[in-house]
């Protein structure tokens, strides 16, 4: 049986450091909320359609972008990129609390930084490439999903981040470590631990948003 898949529209969003190429899925009716998807470096085509369709199944419109594509940028520039993407969603009527942020790899690191910058409904970082300076305090509830074999962020670094966020941040945050996998575990794979991590990380991502992103009144559920 063929399931309906929505092909994202490609458009552009202007940011102070240039034009960002974004994929966009708009939904009819009254969507549940909106999500900004920050893809891993060079993974917009590979990941965005899958993630965005998954979000659409739960009622979320989305915008996806690869923030590494315009070239190297400082953290403050990356955060201005995120602000520009939130501005685009704002034009569609979404307030910050009605927006979730999900980042993978390179985008996962930016999602953590953005959690301290913007009062979003919720944010998720999947295998962020770094968590070196915890951005405390967070403003948005943040979920961090890590592969235990990911050399960029080993389990000890996750524990230190967890302690820093617990004591230094008023909002709720959680971290989860997946055994037997490195980065990129959000992509399904036949090995049992890889499949488990892909399945569980997606479940947690959606639940995190559903429990926190302010729903638009009168959603169809």
């Amino acid at each position: 049986m063929e399931f309906l898949r929505i092909a994202p529209e490609i458009s552009e969003v202007a940011s102070p450091r240039g034009v960002l190429r974004v994929a966009e899925i708009k939904l009819g009716g009254v969507p549940r909320g909106a999500v900004v998807v920050l893809c891993d470096a060079d993974a917009l085509e590979q990941d965005a359609p899958e993630v965005m369709n998954g979000l659409a199944e739960h009622g979320y419109e989305s915008l996806a972008v690869d923030l590494s594509s315009p070239g190297p940028a400082r953290d403050d520039e990356l955060l201005r990129d995120v602000a520009a993407l939130l501005g685009r969603l704002g034009e569609r009527g979404w307030s910050a609390e009605q927006i979730g942020l999900v980042g993978y790899g390179f985008g996962g690191r930016v999602a953590l930084l953005a959690s301290a910058e913007f009062g979003l409904g919720g944010a998720v970082s999947v295998a962020p490439t770094g968590v070196e300076v915890p951005p405390i305090p967070l403003r948005a509830p943040w979920l961090g999903l890590f592969g235990d074999l990911d050399g960029n962020v080993p389990p000890q670094a996750v524990r230190e981040l967890r302690e820093a966020l617990d004591s230094g941040s008023p909002v709720h945050s959680e971290t989860v470590g997946y055994p037997g996998v490195g980065a990129g575990f959000h992509r399904d794979a036949p090995k049992v631990l890889a499949h488990a991590a892909a399945f569980d990380s997606w479940q947690r991502t959606v639940e995190w948003l559903n429990l926190r992103v302010v729903p638009a009144a009168g959603t169809r559920g």
């Binding site: 909002v171 709720h172 302010v214 729903p215 559920g221």
Partner: protein, 439 residues
């Protein structure tokens, strides 16, 4: 005045007896639910269990499924865990963090402030349809972090209800400068016995050495000797409104737990020296004595000074209760003292420890034997009635609790027993009212 069929309070002999029907009868159980649990302040949880905004725990209190939560602004809230639409439970987790809860039945979403925020197919309701918020118990209040609810809108305020129990809670709470906190993790177990048997047991010094022989043998082996004689010098105390306690002499706080190293002892002494500066000797001497307290009807706080257990008893049926126990601890304590606490929580109070299973066995055999209540209808709770100063090994505190129970169930108000007033060790106050941090 009505005369109770459940209690015989004979001051002449003297003798105090409780009819075993109180432990088995479905009608008594229904009257308890209506006359006691629907009109009391009932403990639901501790504020420190909810650390961040939108944290929640689900609890059953007096049969009601409740959500114990902090809203997005950090205010403690309690909600009925039922969708006002058609009744399904909104939250089926034991705890977590959520700004919104969505009913899985029809998808209505509520915020942690209780407001209905979205309804699928909202256009099916008219423009004037009043969207219901979550229901809540009539009253929610807290005392030094202990949060209580009441289903009676006309109930007296919480501090008035707590009466003399406030003092004992203060003695527990003043053991941390940073604020005592509930440790993560709970003990949960059910007991096939009437809930009042565990109330009695929780303030029963008489049973300790006989029932918990194994625990005391372990203490003897670990310490190279054990002299629980000081326990016999503790006092049974009426705290008012049915709340009762046994409180030990200052030395009793050192009786329990595995032995400490010299460094551990030094840290403990140093902690208590700081308290002496802050609160004065009279208060800290009193603080150093172990205390078991029942806050009427079903909250137990046992403070062995090196470990504090908070235990809530939820009656399920005349012959079944559910027990939830938490450990309250000072967060600033060093590793060894903390380890001693955790050890005691497991080895003494834990459902697999050396003491609680003994109690569960004792209470369950009581309940089974009540099948013979036609032949043996009365339990005796007279110990210490003729003593001028009832000790913790007497049963004054149980009688006091039962008299309150009896008053609420039957309307018969029995006069309090007259005994020698409490002596100085049990009446010491804080040296400065500035430190009275009660809310």
């Amino acid at each position: 005045m009505p005369v109770s069929e459940y209690i015989v309070d004979d001051r002449e002999m003297p003798r105090f007896r409780v009819n075993r029907k109180t432990m088995t009868d479905g009608e008594v159980f229904a009257r308890e639910r209506e006359l006691i649990f629907n009109h009391s302040w009932l403990y639901i949880g501790h504020e420190t269990e909810l650390r961040k905004p939108n944290d929640f725990k689900t609890r059953t209190v007096a049969g009601r499924p409740l959500i114990f939560a902090k809203d997005a602004k950090g205010k403690v809230r309690v909600w009925v865990n039922s969708c006002p639409h058609r009744g399904a439970m909104l939250c089926r987790e034991s705890g977590g963090n959520a700004r919104f809860m969505t009913c899985f039945y029809h998808g209505w979403s509520f915020s942690s402030s209780g407001d209905l925020v979205s309804v699928p197919g909202d256009d099916g309701y008219g423009p004037d349809f009043e969207r219901p918020s979550l229901a809540a118990p009539a009253k929610v209040d807290s005392y030094r972090g202990f949060v209580f609810v009441s289903f009676d809108p006309g109930i007296v305020d919480l501090p008035t209800h707590l009466a003399g129990a406030k003092d004992l809670l203060d003695l527990v709470c003043d053991q941390s400068e940073a604020g005592m906190r509930i440790l993560e993790g709970t003990h949960e177990y059910s007991v096939k016995a009437n809930w009042k048997l565990l109330v009695e047991n929780s303030v029963d010094g008489y049973h300790a050495v006989s029932t918990h022989q194994r625990y005391f043998e372990m203490m003897t082996a670990a310490h190279g000797g054990f002299a629980p004689t000081a326990l016999g010098q503790s006092r049974g105390i009426d705290l008012g409104n049915g709340h009762v306690a046994i409180a030990g002499e200052p030395s009793t706080g050192g009786l329990f737990g595995r032995p400490l190293s010299e460094a551990g002892k030094a840290e403990k002494t140093e902690r208590f020296d700081r308290f002496r500066e802050k609160y004065g000797d009279a208060w800290v001497d009193r603080m150093g004595g172990a205390r078991n307290m029942v806050i009427f009807p079903n909250l137990v706080v046992i403070d062995l000074v090196m470990g504090v257990v908070v235990r809530r008893i939820e009656p399920l049926a005349p012959d079944c209760m559910e027990v939830t126990a938490w450990h309250l601890a000072p967060p600033e304590e060093g590793e060894e003292l903390h380890k001693q606490r955790l050890d005691n929580f497991l080895t003494f109070w834990g459902p697999g420890g050396l003491a609680s299973p003994d109690d569960v066995e004792a209470l369950e055999t009581c309940q089974r034997s009540y099948a013979a209540q036609r032949e043996l209808p009365w339990s005796d709770v007279s110990r210490g009635m003729s003593r001028s100063a009832p000790t913790g090994s007497d049963e004054f505190q149980m009688r006091t609790w039962w008299r309150r129970w009896n008053e609420l169930i039957t309307g018969e108000k029995l006069p309090p027993e007259e005994h020698a007033p409490l002596d100085g060790v049990h009446t010491g106050n804080r040296q400065s009212p500035d430190h009275a941090t009660a809310q």
